[in-house]
Amino acid sequence: MATRTIAGKTVQVNDEGFMTNPAEWTKEIADELAKEEGIDCLTDAHWKVIEFSRVSAKDSGKAPTLRTITTGAGVSTKELFQLFPKGPAKKVARIAGLGKPEGCV
């Protein structure tokens, strides 16, 4: 598995740049990954989603689905698409240091 240095910290990543060990994640890493996803500044609304997703993933062992995020973090799907344009499920997962949302194959 490859490693990468993000915000001064060396972390494990997969081929597509998703972190593979959520424990290595820091808020600084989130800032940096957000920029790569085209989000220049993470606002409180972003953080609410990111923090909820990390707690949810800790329980379930996988990145949350959009519905889990909208119900759990109290944002609407429309808002989520505004906060993380074009594919929020994947973007939130990447920025929050969680694996990519996956199907079974």
Binding site: G61, T65, F81, G87, P101, C104, V105
Partner: protein
Amino acid sequence: MKKLVILGAGTAGTMVANRLVRTLKMDKWQITMVDKDPVHYYQPGWLFVPFGIYEKKDCFKPKSKYIPSQVKMLQADIQCVEPENNRVILADRTVLEYDYLIVATGADIYPDETPGLNEGEWGKSIHTFYSMNGAVALADKLRNWNGGRLVVNVVENPIKCPVAPLEFLMLADWFFHKRGIRDRVELIYATPLPGAFTKPIANKKLSYLLEKKNIIVEPEFMIERADPDAKKIVSYDEREVEYDLLVSVPLNKGADYIGRSGLGDELNYVPVNKHTLLSNKFSNIFVLGDASNIPASKAGSVAHYAIDLFGENFLRHLEGKEMHEEFDGHANCFVESGFGKGLLIDFNYTVEPLPGRFPVPGIGPMKLLEESRLNHLGKLGFRWMYWNILMRGQSMPLPATMSMAGKWKE
């Protein structure tokens, strides 16, 4: 007498009832089952109905034929569970008290949750194969369809049998070839996931199939609404996909009574320990089959392996012993790929589908993650096994947890 109530007599409920009448001392137990529908559907068969491979009559049997005689079967809609009072209330106000409860009411489709889907065009230009009636109506449609853009859309995950939409598309490719109109049909797969295959090795090994069959993927498509008049689906990020025929896999959810009883998550699935299937909140409620929130595929094969391990664990739990935290999310699914071929995938919570041979390492005869004629025959043969082995509560001669033997990582 101790009382056990089993809610739902589908795949999981039927399997577990047949196991328990053999393992429990039946002079000390009273088992009651509840299901609203007297018909047991073989849901994997619904995939084949639209293409005329199976007919409706090939996909169902009366439930009563598979319920053990020692079990009392009630036909009723479930109103709610009162877990604090250890009782179930049925729609006709019957009250069932229990010492232990098994929830096995599965998941179902909710087309009303997506605006535009279940309106005037439902059954006309908008179809589904995720119900018996839907599959039959789609067969009528496809028999005479003159071609155009066929879009398969998964509204939201998780869904039952997550590979079924892809299988549908690969079978559609074959079906329209056979009908001589493949050149007049576009096949499009609009999925909320980042691609048709999301696991690295499966992606590498199987992407060629979609290219070969000319199936176009529209990834990360989260449908907001269907526009039945303009014949297009619109995503939350305002992408539009036009169709002539929309085959929808509507939102899948657990039963409404689960929500009413305060037992469910946002999709009415019951949170459980993923290794023991015991409810997180109530130590006398187990959840088997699609009704739980375990991060495994919602598939009959998963229910079967889970129930293999549940049997012994339940006895330990009754004696007050620790349960073995054993269930690993093992799934083993045949995947139709069209033209008389199929794939076989074997995986669990942590190990992705890998190439190899199954079930005998090095020998097979089934090939994992590779197309073969035998895998297709396996899928068709599964129907016999379902009714005659699984629904009789017999075990398949296979270990319940996944094995790495005979697999390789490339």
